[in-house]
């Protein structure tokens, strides 16, 4: 397993933007796991929206949001051009923050969202895959980052900061309508 591919070993061509591919080699597996999680999240949120949204609007909105983010991250990692790389940094970073924030909130107050979400208990219901995956994703984006001085893609995950799930889903501001 020493050869992680993704252009790191020089066996795959670089993308047009000078970056190395995020969807080949080890990235092929990463995109697969992201895709499976995306399908799981889509399935979960469609089921929740269709059958019981009014029971826990915050939890189920959060499920839908996470589903959208997983889909975006999957596509971005699979495509991997300079622009998609930015999308990947933002969405994967958002997931890392999301699972930590929601996981911490659910640990402090288990029923804070009224119902469990993909990210409750740090992704416990999904074998902690939602916890591990974004950090593997960030590592992979870093590992395959483009070299050179004038690359469009940011080399750090800082741009993800503003997308932290505060506001409507903030655990610090419990919605009286929940429960």
């Amino acid at each position: 397993m020493a050869d992680l591919g993704g252009g790191v070993s020089g066996t795959t061509p670089a993308t047009a933007g000078g970056g190395r591919r995020t969807g080949t080699g080890f990235g092929r597996l990463l995109v697969t796991v992201y895709g499976i999680l995306a399908f799981a999240a889509i399935g979960r949120s469609s089921y929740e929206l269709a059958t019981k949204f009014s029971e826990a609007p915050v939890a189920y909105s959060l499920s839908t949001l996470s589903a959208v983010v997983y889909v975006l991250a999957t596509v971005a990692l699979a495509k991997g051009g300079p622009r998609w790389r930015v999308v990947a940094w933002v969405t994967v970073g958002f997931e890392a923050l999301g699972v930590l924030a929601v996981g911490a909130a659910s640990a402090v107050s288990p029923d804070v969202f009224g119902e469990t979400t993909v990210w409750s208990g740090f992704g416990q219901g999904y074998g902690y895959v939602p916890l591990v995956l974004p950090f593997v994703g960030l590592w992979w984006l870093w590992r395959t980052r483009p070299h050179g001085t004038h690359d469009a893609a940011p080399a750090t995950p800082e741009p993800t900061e503003p997308t932290e799930p505060t506001g409507p889903t903030a655990p610090a501001a419990p919605d009286p309508e929940v429960r």
């Binding site: 092929r28 597996l29 697969t32 796991v33 895709g35 499976i36 399908f39 089921y47």
Partner: protein, 119 residues
């Protein structure tokens, strides 16, 4: 759902995952025969879904329909997409992808069995 069919599907998933894992060890990419194997697994899942649908109607088996068919849809979608995605890769990661997909379908099928018995 019927138990013998569940066992057949789980064994088929395990066999496909094992075959792909053996290829990982050998540092080989997915071959056409494995895609045919994946198609067989897919066909078994379809048969299982049809049998479940028939049982639901004829025996009036109580089940959380949206949840059950949601899982069926996911189980049916995973393997074809993963197989194409794996086949496009010509390194051992190709085989890792197929193995993961096969295990996922096996897991989803196990969840189907639980959902079937839960209602």
């Amino acid at each position: 759902m019927v138990l013998p069919l569940l066992i057949v599907v789980l064994l088929a998933c395990a066999a496909l995952a094992g075959w792909a894992s053996w290829f990982v060890v050998q540092d080989r990419a997915v071959i056409l025969k494995q895609l045919i194997g994946a198609a067989v697994v897919e066909a078994l899942v379809v048969v299982q879904a049809v049998v479940a649908g028939v049982l639901m109607v004829t025996r009036d088996h109580p089940v959380d329909g949206p949840l059950f068919w949601g899982y069926v849809a996911t189980a049916l979608v995973v393997l074809p997409i993963a197989a194409i995605w794996a086949f496009a890769e010509r390194t051992r990661w190709s085989s890792v992808v197929l193995a993961v997909a096969a295990l996922t379908v096996g897991f989803l099928d196990w969840r189907l069995w639980q959902i079937w018995g839960a209602a």
